[in-house]
C-alpha cells in the first residue's frame, strides 16, 4: 500500500516540476554554503593539527627560556651530563623578500622516539642529512612554493607542515645564524631515580600543545565563517520551507482522497517523509558538489587571509573529505525535517472531513501574528541584554542571532502596520492595498529571508567599510617614512645608515625581537626618539609624556591586542627589562600577536644580540625615487631590499582585502539565495491568487493592469523590507565592530556609515525582487481568459 500512496503523492512533482526545482535548489544551495564553509574549516584545522604534531609537539613537553630567547648550549649539556634525556631543537624563520621558510633543526641522535620523523619519499642517502651542505625535508607544496635563495638541497617528505622544512640541527644553526637551541624536547620516560627536571634547571617547562597556538588563534575566524554558513543555510531553508509548504497545501485534497479511499494516516506521513528524504538526499549530493566548488574557489582567499592575519600556513587547495560530505547530508536531512515539520504536523492534524477548499498558504492568523511580534520583542530584549552584559565570542554570536531572528519575526507586523497607514483614494487603489495586506502572510517567509540577507549585507559592508577607512588612515600614520631598507646583515645596515645620514632628513632604525609577554608570543620593537613617531603614532590612550618616558627608557607602549587580551591599563607594568610601566596603547590592525615598543637603547640592553637590519628613511617625497635608485646602484642593494611607502601600503591593503574576500563572497551568495526564496514565494502565490484576481479582471481591470500592479507591489514590498533592514543591518555592524571583532581579532574600530553603498544595495534588492516577480507577472499578463473564467466555472 505504501508504494501506490507514495506514487500518488509524488506524482505532484511531475505535474509541478518548477516546485521540485525550487525545493531541490533551496536544499542544494543551503547545503552548498554550509558544507563549503565546513570543508574550508576542516581543511584548515587539519593543517593546524599537522603543524601541531610536527616533531611530536602535541605529545612532548619542552624546556625553554621564559623570555623566548635561545637556551644556552651549556644548559643543554649540563642536563645531558646529569642524565636527563633532552634533545635540542633550533627553530626560526628564513626570509628572502616575500619568500618565507620556517626551519626546524633537530638532532636525530638524541631526539625522543615520540618525535615523529618525516617520511622520506624516493631514494635519499640519510648521510646527506648530517653532512654539509645538509638536506632540507619539506612537503611537495612547500617545495613548489616561493622559497628563500641559497638553501641546501631539498627532499620531498610527508608529514611536514606547509612553508616549513626539517633539517639537521647543524644545518639550521648555520642557516639561521643561531648557535644555541631554541628549546629542548623532553623524552617522556626519564631515567629512574633522577629528581624532576624542573629542579635541575631554571628553564621553563612547557606542556605538550593540546591544539596549537594557531588553532586557538584562528578559532574566531573559523567561528565567523561558521556563522556565515549557518546564516546562508537558514536563508536556504526559507526556500525549502516555502516550497514544501506550497506542495503540501496543493496536495491537501489528494491526501484527503487517499485517506477516504482507505490509506491510513501513518502510511501517508511515511510516504511524505520518504519522498522528502529522497529529494533531500539527492539535492544534498548536488549541494555537496556545489559546496566543494565554492570551497575550492574560496580556499586560496582563505589561505591568504589566514597567512596575512595569523601567520597560519595552509595550502590553498581543498581535498575531498568523506566526513564533511556525510555531515552535509545529515544536516540537509535535518534541515529538511525542520523545514517540513510544520507541514507534516498540519497534515497529521488535518481533519478528514474538513472542506477541501485550498486554504491560503501559510496564512498567519491575527493571533499568530501577535505571538510572533511578542517573540520578536523578547528576542530584541535578549539581544540588548547580551550586548550590554555578555562576554565572549559565543555571547556575541548569540546577540547577533537574537537580533536577526527578532527582526525577521517582527517584519510581518511592521509591514502590516505600514500598510494600515496608507489611505488610498479610489476603489482600485483601495483593493490593491487590501490585497497587498492579504498577501503578506504568504510572502512573509520570503521577505524575512530577504531581510536577513539585506541586513547581513548592510552589517558586513558597514564593518568592512569602517575597517577599510580606519585601516587606510592608520597605515598613513604608521607608514610615515618614505623609504624602507633591508640590509643583508646588521653591519651592512649600520654602514648604510652612516653613509646616508648626511643626505636625508632622518634615519629610523627598525629592530624587533620575538619574545613572550604574559606567557604568549609577542614582538618587542626598539625605536629612536623622532617627531615621526611623536606626531603620527596612532594612540588609543597615552599619558601626556608618553614619548618622553619611552625615550628615557622608563616607559613602554603596548598594542591594542595585548592591552585587551591581558585587560591592561595605563601604568600597569609589563614584565620586560625588570618591568616597565605602560605609557601608551596604540592600534595595530592586522597583527594577531601582542607587541610592545621601547626605546632603542632599552631594546639594545634587553636584546643585545639583535641589531637592526632594517631602517626607514625620512626624505622629501619627491627625492625618494632618486635615493632608491642610488641605493640599488651605488650600494649594490638588490631591488627588493628597498621598498617605498606605496609598496608597503599596497601589500598591507592586499592582506586586508584578502581578509574580507571570503565574507564578501558569502554575502553575495546569501543575497542570491534570498532572491530565489522570493521567487519561490511569488510563484506560489501566483498559483493561489487566481480566485482573487479573476473577479477584479471580470469587473474591468485588464490583465496588463493586474500584472503591473503585481510588479509594483513586489518592488514596494522589497523596498519596505530594505527600509526595515537598514537599522537592523547597522545594529548588526555595531555588534560586529564593538563586540565580535574585539573578541575575534583583538581590536575595536570606530563605526562609519556609507549611504552610497545602501543605495547600491537597494537597487540590488529591487532588481532581485523585480526579477523574481517577472515570471509570474508575465504569466499573468499573457494568461488566456479561459484560465480566468475557469475560476468561476469551478465555483459552487
Amino acid at each position: 500500500m505504501l508504494y501506490p500512496a507514495f506514487q500518488s503523492l509524488s506524482s505532484h512533482w511531475r505535474r509541478h516540476p518548477g516546485q521540485l526545482v525550487m525545493l531541490a535548489l533551496g536544499l542544494a544551495l543551503a547545503t552548498a554554503l554550509w558544507s563549503g564553509v565546513q570543508a574550508i574549516n576542516a581543511e584548515a584545522r587539519t593543517a593546524y593539527d599537522r603543524a601541531a604534531a610536527t616533531l611530536g609537539q602535541d605529545q612532548l613537553s619542552r624546556l625553554e627560556r621564559s623570555d623566548g630567547r635561545p637556551v644556552p648550549a651549556a644548559e643543554f649539556l649540563a642536563l645531558r651530563a646529569a642524565g636527563y634525556l633532552v634533545s635540542p631543537v633550533i627553530s626560526g624563520e628564513l626570509r628572502d623578500g616575500d619568500a618565507r621558510l620556517r626551519l626546524l633543526g633537530i638532532d636525530p641522535l638524541t631526539a625522543p622516539s615520540e618525535t615523529q620523523s618525516p617520511t622520506l619519499t624516493g631514494d635519499t642517502d640519510i648521510a646527506d642529512f648530517f653532512t654539509a651542505p645538509g638536506l632540507l625535508l619539506a612537503s611537495q607544496a612547500t617545495a613548489d612554493g616561493d622559497l628563500p635563495a641559497g638553501l641546501p638541497p631539498l627532499r620531498i617528505a610527508e608529514n611536514v607542515p606547509l612553508a616549513a622544512a626539517i633539517t639537521d640541527i647543524s644545518t639550521a644553526a648555520r642557516l639561521l645564524d643561531q648557535q644555541d637551541p631554541s628549546y629542548l624536547l623532553i623524552a617522556p620516560d626519564q631515567p629512574f631515580g633522577l629528581p624532576p627536571i624542573t629542579d635541575a634547571t631554571s628553564l621553563t617547562l612547557r606542556s605538550p600543545e593540546v591544539g596549537s597556538d594557531i588553532a586557538r588563534l584562528t578559532d574566531s575566524f573559523h567561528l565567523n565563517l561558521t556563522a556565515f554558513g549557518l546564516l546562508s543555510f537558514g536563508v536556504g531553508l526559507f526556500i525549502v520551507h516555502a516550497a514544501i509548504g506550497l506542495a503540501f497545501e496543493q496536495r491537501r485534497a489528494t491526501i484527503r482522497t487517499l485517506r477516504a479511499l482507505g490509506t491510513p494516516l501513518r502510511t501517508i506521513l511515511l510516504a511524505l517523509g520518504l519522498e522528502l528524504a529522497a529529494i533531500a538526499a539527492l539535492a544534498g549530493l548536488v549541494g555537496i558538489l556545489l559546496g566543494y566548488v565554492i570551497a575550492a574557489s574560496l580556499m586560496p582567499g582563505v589561505a591568504g587571509t589566514l597567512r596575512g592575519l595569523y601567520g597560519a600556513e595552509i595550502e590553498g587547495v581543498l581535498r575531498f573529505n568523506p566526513d564533511w560530505a556525510i555531515a552535509a547530508i545529515a544536516i540537509t536531512l535535518l534541515g529538511t525535517a525542520v523545514a517540513a515539520a510544520q507541514a507534516m504536523v498540519r497534515t497529521a492534524r488535518m481533519p478528514l472531513l474538513a472542506p477541501a477548499m485550498p486554504r491560503a498558504w501559510a496564512q498567519a492568523s491575527g493571533r499568530a501574528l501577535r505571538l510572533q511580534t511578542l517573540a520578536a520583542i523578547a528576542l530584541f530584549a535578549l539581544a540588548t541584554a547580551l550586548a550590554v552584559f555578555g562576554t565572549g565570542l559565543y555571547a556575541a554570536f548569540a546577540c547577533l542571532g537574537a537580533l536577526l531572528i527578532g527582526a525577521a519575526l517582527a517584519l510581518p507586523a511592521v509591514m502590516t502596520s505600514l500598510l494600515s497607514l496608507v489611505r488610498p483614494k479610489g476603489a482600485f487603489a483601495d483593493w490593491v492595498v487590501a490585497d497587498t495586506r492579504q498577501q503578506i502572510p504568504g510572502l512573509s517567509l520570503a521577505l524575512m529571508a530577504l531581510l536577513l540577507a539585506l541586513a547581513a549585507n548592510i552589517g558586513v559592508s558597514t564593518m568592512v567599510g569602517s575597517f577599510r577607512t580606519t585601516f587606510l588612515s592608520w597605515l598613513d600614520q604608521r607608514l610615515a617614512s618614505e623609504l624602507y631598507v633591508t640590509a643583508a646583515t646588521p653591519d651592512e645596515a649600520a654602514a648604510l645608515m652612516q653613509a646616508l645620514a648626511p643626505d636625508v632628513d632622518a634615519i629610523l632604525p627598525i629592530v624587533s625581537a620575538p619574545t613572550r609577554l604574559f606567557d604568549r608570543p609577542a614582538d618587542v620593537f626598539g625605536v629612536v626618539d623622532h617627531p615621526t613617531y611623536r606626531q603620527a603614532w596612532p594612540f588609543l590612550a597615552a599619558t601626556q609624556d608618553a614619548w618622553d618616558r619611552v625615550a628615557d627608557g622608563t616607559g613602554i607602549l603596548v598594542n591594542e591586542q595585548l592591552f585587551r587580551r591581558e585587560t591592561l591599563s595605563l601604568g600597569d607594568v609589563v614584565p620586560l627589562a625588570d618591568g616597565l610601566p605602560i605609557v601608551g596603547i596604540y592600534t595595530d590592525y592586522g597583527n594577531p600577536n601582542g607587541q610592545a615598543i621601547v626605546s632603542l637603547t632599552r631594546f639594545a640592553e634587553t636584546f643585545p644580540e639583535d641589531r637592526p637590519r632594517r631602517f626607514a628613511i625620512r626624505i622629501a617625497p619627491e627625492d625618494a625615487p632618486a635615493l632608491a635608485t642610488r641605493l640599488r646602484t651605488e650600494f649594490g642593494l638588490p631591488a627588493d631590499a628597498v621598498t617605498n611607502q606605496a609598496q608597503v601600503k599596497a601589500f598591507s591593503v592586499d592582506v586586508f582585502e584578502q581578509t574580507f574576500r571570503v565574507t564578501g563572497a558569502l554575502n553575495v551568495l546569501t543575497l542570491g539565495v534570498a532572491g530565489i526564496a522570493l521567487l519561490t514565494s511569488l510563484l506560489t502565490l501566483a498559483n493561489l491568487r487566481l480566485p482573487q484576481l479573476a473577479p477584479i479582471w471580470a469587473i474591468g481591470a485588464s490583465r496588463a493592469t493586474l500584472a503591473k500592479v503585481e510588479m509594483a507591489r513586489s518592488l514596494a514590498l522589497a523596498a519596505i523590507t530594505f527600509v526595515f533592514a537598514l537599522p537592523v543591518g547597522l545594529a548588526l555592524a555595531w555588534i560586529l565592530l564593538a563586540f565580535v571583532n574585539v573578541e575575534a581579532f583583538g581590536w575595536r574600530l570606530p563605526m562609519q556609515v556609507f549611504p552610497a553603498d545602501w543605495l547600491l544595495l537597494l537597487a540590488l534588492a529591487l532588481l532581485a525582487a523585480g526579477l523574481a516577480a517577472l515570471g509570474p507577472t508575465l504569466r499573468l499578463a499573457r494568461m488566456p481568459p479561459a484560465r480566468l473564467t475557469q475560476v468561476f466555472a469551478q465555483e459552487r
Partner: protein, 223 residues
C-alpha cells in the same frame, strides 16, 4: 443467519452550533443487503451526507452502531477503519475528488492498487464500459464534469468492493448526463454484486433504485 451487508442501528449524531447542540441524526436504523440499491433522499441539511460519512467510517456516531457484514466498525481505530474502507467500500463523491496529478488510468487503478487487488483487465473493461478508453493518459483537469464523475465511478468499482457509497454522484451533472451516469452505475453494481447506498436530491433518480428512504428532521421515513 447471515448478517446483512450493512446494518445501521439507532445512529445518533449531534454537532455543536452557536453554543447549542444540533441533532443531525436521531436514532436512524437501516439495513442493506448485497445487490440491493438504496436511495437516501432528504432536504438540504437533513443529514444525508453525514449518514453516508458515518457509514463509510469517515466520521463516528455519538451513539448507535454501524455494522458491515456483522462487524461493528465503531470498534476499529482510525487505521482499522481506513483499511475497512480500502478493502470493502467504494466511495463516489459529488466533487469527484480525483487526484489531479495522476492520469485517468492511474486514478481508476488507485484504490485497487492500494488494496493490493489491481486487475488491469478489469480496469480496462470498466474504462471501456464508461467510455473512458480514449482518455486514459489524460489528467482530470482535461476532462469535463461528466467524464470526471465516470472516472470516480470506475475507481470506486475497480477493487470490487462489497458496498458502494455515492454522495450525489450526479449532482454536478446536467439531467441527460446524470441519467446516463446513473444507468452505468446501476449496471455495474448489478454486475459486481455490490450493494449501493446513494444520496440524492432527486426523487426521480431515487425511483430508479430498488428501495428509497427519506431523512427528515434526523429520522428515517419510508425505510
Amino acid at each position: 443467519m447471515t448478517a446483512s451487508l450493512l446494518d445501521l442501528r439507532d445512529i445518533r449524531k449531534t454537532y455543536p452550533s452557536d453554543g447549542k447542540t444540533l441533532t443531525i441524526l436521531d436514532g436512524v436504523s437501516l439495513k442493506l443487503e448485497a445487490e440491493e440499491t438504496v436511495a437516501l433522499t432528504g432536504e438540504s441539511g437533513s443529514g444525508k451526507s453525514t449518514l453516508l460519512h458515518l457509514t463509510g467510517g469517515l466520521d463516528q456516531p455519538d451513539a448507535g452502531q454501524v455494522r458491515l457484514n456483522g462487524q461493528d466498525i465503531g470498534m476499529l481505530d482510525d487505521a482499522g477503519r481506513a483499511l475497512m474502507r480500502r478493502d470493502r467500500i467504494g466511495l463516489i463523491f459529488q466533487q469527484f475528488n480525483l487526484v489531479p496529478s495522476l492520469t485517468i488510468a492511474a486514478n481508476i487503478a488507485l484504490q485497487a492498487r492500494l488494496a493490493g487487488r489491481h486487475d488491469a483487465t478489469f480496469c480496462a473493461e470498466l474504462a471501456a464500459r464508461l467510455g473512458l478508453s480514449e482518455m486514459l493518459s489524460r489528467y482530470p483537469e482535461q476532462l469535463s464534469g461528466g467524464q470526471q464523475q465516470r472516472v470516480a465511478i470506475a475507481r470506486a468499482l475497480a477493487h470490487r468492493p462489497a458496498l458502494i457509497l455515492a454522495d450525489e454522484p450526479t449532482g454536478n451533472l446536467d439531467e441527460e448526463t446524470g441519467d446516463a451516469v446513473l444507468t452505468l452505475l446501476l449496471e455495474l453494481v448489478a454486475e459486481t454484486g455490490a450493494g449501493l447506498l446513494m444520496v440524492t436530491h432527486s426523487r426521480r433518480l431515487a425511483g430508479r433504485l430498488s428501495r428509497h428512504a427519506n431523512l427528515s428532521r434526523g429520522r428515517l421515513e419510508g425505510n
